[in-house]
């Protein structure tokens, strides 16, 4: 086993980045642990409400001049940031593996997706243009101008420490706003490094701020009168009952992306070999810790008689279980590893409880990931191998709730319509995929399924930076989404001008 070199050699001290300065927090300090090795790799402050105030004050102070900076000049800051991100691509990727646990391929994928958002935002001189119409009445013209609003807060989750703040921040600053980012305190290093590169790119002080911490920071951001909008990615209870509600009360704009329970359908005419490989990434990529992960696999028997369906079902289950059982689990800096650990011990315990619940409720555990086999000699604290349940029904806990771990629930549906009903019986609506060779079923699926992101022979329906990251039902709260044109609209106000010259 050969490991790629670790970029973090000694325990880092994470600081806040406020008003262009690296500031030590007065708050308590928490350890950041590499979940594969269980070693402490950084110490992060849990900042205070006052420190949020300082960051917002800096952002507010920077806003008037920043919004007057021509969009082309703002874009050039982003071009410089993009160049620096490319230069530090490998370091940033390995940091993600160290702080989160994902494999190096997954980390590089995350880095690339983050950079793509910076790239899209560099197009701001075109993206931010308004529109106009001459002669709305004779001699009167009307036009729309897009203007920035002020200071936005970005509250990030633990599962994509580098990328998720970049679904929002590049668009916010490109449109002339200033940001205060709160990384997850479990994985703050990527945003710490990103802020270093923002500083190197020369952004004016106060445009980009990072305040580390936990709930106190979130509460302070939600109630702060000078924060005009919040972008949040996290669990549904928090998105719905805390973020969305509080933003409604305080009149803030909001993008709240929440939990998921994603269904994948396998039709009898699917290309099984490629479908199974796509399923491995979907169910076990990022150790199942993403809102686009596959959770429930429905094997559909449309057009098959009972005997044919049973044979097809068995064939899919066998192929799925065989592939899942071969997944190499270990430290993501080993290039042969295909799945890393859960982010921490508590998250592993939560997944184990779901597995126990599945057994208790009568599902058949055909691959037990609690039997840990690792590539390399690592502490087992945060690791699980892939699990597969058969005979799961949508009303079971494991079929209904978000597990956020490497557990697949296989379900039966005798028809396409029954499968669609199963998807719609679930309160989430983030993503759903169909694997088929039939354009008819693919079109029907895309047309009918009430989910924000639809995959056709795609296991992870992750929208590219120039498309919105959608979501429906209990997976999204708000109107406009992150990324691309929708982000531009979210971060700007449309001002209408009607003019007549006498």
């Amino acid at each position: 086993m050969v490991l790629l070199e670790e970029p973090i050699k000694e325990v880092l001290t994470i600081k806040n980045y406020i008003g262009g300065e690296w500031v030590e927090s007065k708050g308590e300090i928490a350890d950041v642990i590499n979940p594969a090795t269980c070693k402490v790799i950084a110490r992060v402050p849990l900042s205070t409400e006052d420190e949020v105030d300082e960051a917002v004050e800096s952002a507010k102070k920077a806003f008037p001049e920043w919004r007057r900076t021509p969009p082309l000049a703002r874009a050039r800051y982003l071009f410089r940031l993009k160049e620096l991100l490319e230069e530090h691509f490998e370091e940033l990727s390995r940091i993600q593996t160290m702080e989160h646990g994902k494999t190096i391929d997954e980390s590089r994928g995350e880095t690339r997706r983050g950079i793509e958002n910076v790239e899209v935002a560099t197009g701001i001189p075109s993206l931010m243009m308004g529109y106009n119409l001459e002669d709305v009445a004779v001699g009167i013209d009307e036009y729309v101008i897009r203007q920035p609003l002020g200071v936005f807060g970005i509250i990030a989750p633990f599962n994509f420490p580098f990328m998720i703040p970049l679904w929002f921040a590049p668009y916010a600053v490109a449109t002339g706003n200033c940001v205060v980012i709160k990384p997850s305190s479990e994985v703050p290093i990527s945003q710490f490094k990103l802020a270093e590169l923002v500083e190197e790119a020369g952004f004016p002080p106060g445009v980009w701020n990072v305040v580390n911490g936990g709930r106190a920071v979130v509460s302070a951001m939600l109630t702060h009168p000078d924060i005009v909008g919040i972008c949040f990615v996290g669990s549904t209870p928090v998105a719905k009952d805390v973020i969305y509600r509080k933003c409604g009360e305080t009149g803030k704009r909001v993008i709240a992306q929440a939990g998921a329970k994603n269904f994948l359908l396998i039709m009898p005419d699917a290309d099984l070999e490629r479908t199974i490989a796509a399923c491995m990434t979907s169910f076990y990529g990022n150790t199942g810790q993403r809102c686009l992960s596959g959770a429930n696999l429905i094997i559909v028997g449309e057009g098959l008689n009972e005997h044919e369906y049973n044979a097809f079902y068995k064939k899919v289950v066998n192929a799925f279980v065989e592939s899942a059982s071969k997944i190499r689990v270990g430290y993501g800096l080993d290039e042969s590893v295909q799945m890393g650990p859960l982010r921490d011990k508590g998250k592993k315990e939560r997944v184990v409880k779901f597995i126990e619940k599945g057994i208790e409720e009568g599902a058949k555990l055909v691959l037990d990931g609690r039997n840990i086999k690792l590539v390399g000699d690592w502490p087992h604290d945060c690791f699980l191998n892939p699990s597969v349940f058969e005979e799961v029904t949508p009303d079971m806990t494991i079929g209904r709730e978000e597990i956020f771990g490497p557990v697949a629930s296989i379900m039966r549906a005798r028809s396409f319509d029954e499968a669609i009903e199963m998807i719609h019986s679930n309160p989430y609506g983030n993503a759903a995929s169909i694997f088929t060779s039939s354009g008819k079923w693919a079109r029907e699926f895309q047309y009918r399924v009430q989910c924000g992101n639809i995959g056709i022979n795609i296991g992870i329906v992750a929208p590219m930076a120039f498309f919105p990251f959608s979501g429906m039902k209990n997976s999204f709260f708000g109107v406009l989404h992150g990324q691309g044109q929708e982000a531009i609209r979210f971060f700007t106000e449309s001002k209408v001008v009607i003019q007549r010259w006498f």
Partner: protein
């Protein structure tokens, strides 16, 4: 060594490109009669390395099956080749060694392309492009060899 992920395959192929670049650079110094061709091959190795790095780092996203595209994977032992200029070897013998090295590396690229074409098509196309270049250089080396005989 098992090469079962995009990262592992790319690292392995980059290593082969680097080693062959050095190999041809050394040959260009040792064999004046082949200086031009060896130097051009060495430069091409550098370009190949950049190309496969660019295509991998350029298209990789978390939505692609980078960890699972190479199916059961490749065994690096199948492509073991001594990439070194043997002291005192004749020009003809060194050309034969070079052709042998190229054949093995070409095979590595073709195998990697075949495994990955279903799910990482960009990477697979780049591998095939390098394999084609390898065929061209094998033809060139063989032509020089037949002239030398």
């Amino acid at each position: 060594m098992l090469l079962n992920t995009a990262s592992a395959v790319i690292s392995f192929l980059i290593k082969l490109e680097e080693e062959t670049a050095k190999f041809y650079e050394e040959l260009s110094r040792k064999y004046p009669e082949g200086k031009e061709i060896f130097q051009s091959l060495s430069k091409e190795n550098e370009r190949n390395k950049s190309m496969i790095q660019r295509v991998y780092y350029g298209v990789i996203t978390d939505a692609l099956e980078a960890c699972f595209s190479f199916k059961e994977g490749m065994d690096s032992q199948k492509y073991v080749v001594k990439i070194e200029a043997v002291e005192g070897a004749s020009f003809v013998s060194i050309l034969k060694s070079a052709i042998e090295i190229e054949e093995i590396i070409k095979k590595a690229y073709i195998d990697a392309a075949e495994l990955s074409e279903g799910l990482m098509a960009d990477v697979s196309q780049a591998f095939r492009a390098v394999a084609r270049k390898r065929s061209d250089r094998i033809a060139k080396l063989a032509a020089i060899l037949s002239e030398g005989k």
